[in-house]
């Protein structure tokens, strides 16, 4: 069922054209549209990053906001209080978050299934409370938050997140079709069997977890620079975990391009709902989540693969 090379070239051409268009956006589009696409790209990284770990290993990370918040806080505080340039603050935030996630993963990834999910929620909630307590006010400014200005133009921020999103997708593409990706899938399917077949499950899980933390953390740092503000309830908000999960579920868990489709669609839905129906906004999200699990668990791309509208390969 290999696709003919001509079609493959078409796909590459299409992607190149799309990229060229995205790179050009700041030259002709209004700030509103640049902002919208920036958000799509941020959430693309969140969703793909979640999918890279949870979609492949089956360990549901209910603490994505922990990656976002920790990295967001580190980078925001570096910019606000220590006059770092965003160019250094972002990667420092992401790298430190990734290193911290190795520690967290080493400890929490031995906990399986629902317990892992809950322990990540507990970690996120606990960290949020901790960042808001009076004991850490000297560092975190407590619950009242940190406003700051990073002095980066919107167009530069846009290109930065475009680069990150492109890299993230490339990494996801490479991994899902690699032996490493298959090993992660094997962990999802049957961890014990994988281990007795010689797969170093703990190491592989931690690598995927830390990689996810790095990518998501970097996007988180960019996100809060874009917002010019951070506070504990915003940084560790359940929305930041939930929305990428909904996006991924819609597009197709474990697929490469599902999260992008989900992120694009749901950012638009967010725009419309927030304006028209802000009070019931979360209800709609909750209801969509339920409907997806009940009637559409394989997601859009999964469904298309099942119907053989798309070839059943892991590279899509």
């Amino acid at each position: 069922m290999r696709r003919p090379p001509l079609q493959k070239n078409h796909a590459y051409l299409g992607i190149a054209a799309l990229l060229a268009f995205l790179i050009a956006i700041p030259f002709f589009a209004s700030d509103y549209w640049i902002t919208l696409v920036t958000l799509i790209l941020i959430f693309t990284v969140y969703a793909s990053g979640w999918n890279l770990f949870s979609g492949l290993t089956g360990y549901t990370n209910f603490g994505l906001a922990w990656f976002i918040g920790v990295s967001g806080y580190i980078s925001s505080l570096l910019i606000a209080d220590h006059s770092f340039s965003w160019l250094f603050a972002w990667p420092i935030g992401a790298v430190l978050t990734s290193i911290a996630s190795i520690g967290v993963g080493y400890i929490l990834l031995r906990i399986k299934g629902v317990y892992f999910a809950i322990s990540m929620v507990a970690l996120t909630e606990g960290t949020r409370e901790l960042f808001g307590t009076e004991y850490l006010t000297a560092i975190t400014h407590g619950g009242k938050g940190v406003p700051f200005v990073a002095g980066i133009k919107l167009s530069s921020l846009y290109w930065a997140i475009l680069l990150l999103a492109t890299l993230t997708l490339l990494i996801c593409y490479k991994i899902t079709s690699s032996k490493f990706g298959l090993r992660l899938l094997a962990i999802r399917e049957d961890e014990l069997a994988a281990e007795t077949l010689g797969i170093r499950t703990t190491r592989d899980k931690i690598i995927a977890f830390a990689l996810s933390a790095f990518l998501v953390g970097l996007a988180g740092a960019i996100h809060f620079t874009y917002q010019n503000y951070i506070d504990p309830s915003f940084a560790f908000s359940i929305h930041l975990t939930l929305t990428p999960i909904v996006m991924t579920l819609f597009g197709g868990v474990g697929t490469v391009f599902g999260p992008v489709i989900g992120a694009t669609l749901f950012t638009f839905i967010h725009e419309i709902l927030w304006a028209e129906l802000s009070l019931l906004y979360m209800s709609v999200f909750g209801a969509i989540l339920m409907v997806l699990i009940l009637f559409f668990p394989q997601g859009l791309l999964g469904w298309m693969k099942e119907r053989e509208i798309l070839p059943r390969i892991r590279k899509i």
Partner: protein, 237 residues
């Protein structure tokens, strides 16, 4: 008696679950290139022993040596990489992965080599036409064959089969056992847990009988077969 060093040596292994003694000072050797049957009633400790050999469980006492090297306390993946493979009583393949992926994921080394080898093994177990199907689409017997192919992908020298013949039709059963013999001739060592005494007596050279976690008999098939008392007592014949 062969003078060759045993490929597997179990030495005084004890395993307790709470107050229950699952294995009680169990000791035996397995010769390289042999097919050994492991028999005993339900709860005799056979599967526990497999779990201990493969590092899934840790023994409370005792030692396990593989190829002369102690493997007690090693992690499952380390033991697997040293060359101990196993299949499970309840099949544990990767259902939502294709057959080919089920094998590639186990392989080590260059991708092209791995794929080649995986295809060879799929041919061997006569599943090559289904290589792009999900493993969950296979019949129970075919899944057992795939599971064996995974172990072969690992280059295991010692292969532990947990009830390979149970629940599959006689044709496939014969096919599977024929494959075991062929692999045995190529030098692979097998330990087989099986309830069906026909399978054990028909295919194994040596038999070890366990009960209440203790080794109660060991010998060639004919010796075990002659031990009417044992058979009657433990297997209700």
């Amino acid at each position: 008696m062969s003078t060759k060093e045993p490929i597997l040596r179990i030495e005084g292994v004890v395993k307790k679950f709470g107050e229950v003694l699952a294995l009680d000072h169990c000791s035996f050797d397995v010769k390289p290139g042999s097919i050994t049957g492991l028999i005993g009633p339900n709860g005799a400790g056979k599967t526990t022993l497999f779990n201990i050999i493969t590092g899934v469980l840790q023994p409370d006492q005792g030692h396990i040596y593989f190829g002369g090297e102690e493997i007690t306390g090693k992690k499952p993946y380390e033991i697997a990489r040293k060359g101990v493979g196993r299949t499970y009583q309840i099949i544990r393949i990767f259902p939502k992965m294709t057959l080919l992926e089920n094998l590639i994921v186990v392989g080590k080394g260059r991708e092209r080599k791995v794929i080649e080898k995986a295809m060879d093994l799929l041919h061997l177990v006569k599943l090559s036409e289904k290589r792009d199907d999900y493993a969950s689409d296979l019949s129970f017997g075919q899944q057992k064959l795939l599971s064996l192919a995974q172990v072969l992908m690992l280059d295991a020298q010692l292969i532990l089969l947990d009830e390979p013949a149970a629940g599959i039709n006689p044709t496939l059963q014969n096919e599977l056992m024929a494959l075991v013999h062929r692999l045995n001739e190529q030098g692979k060592t097998f330990i087989i847990v099986e309830h069906d005494m026909k399978v054990i007596l028909g295919h194994c050279e040596n038999v070890i009988a366990l009960n209440y976690g203790q080794k109660i008999a060991e010998g060639s098939c004919s010796e075990i077969e002659r031990d009417e008392n044992l058979l009657e007592h433990y297997f209700g014949r």
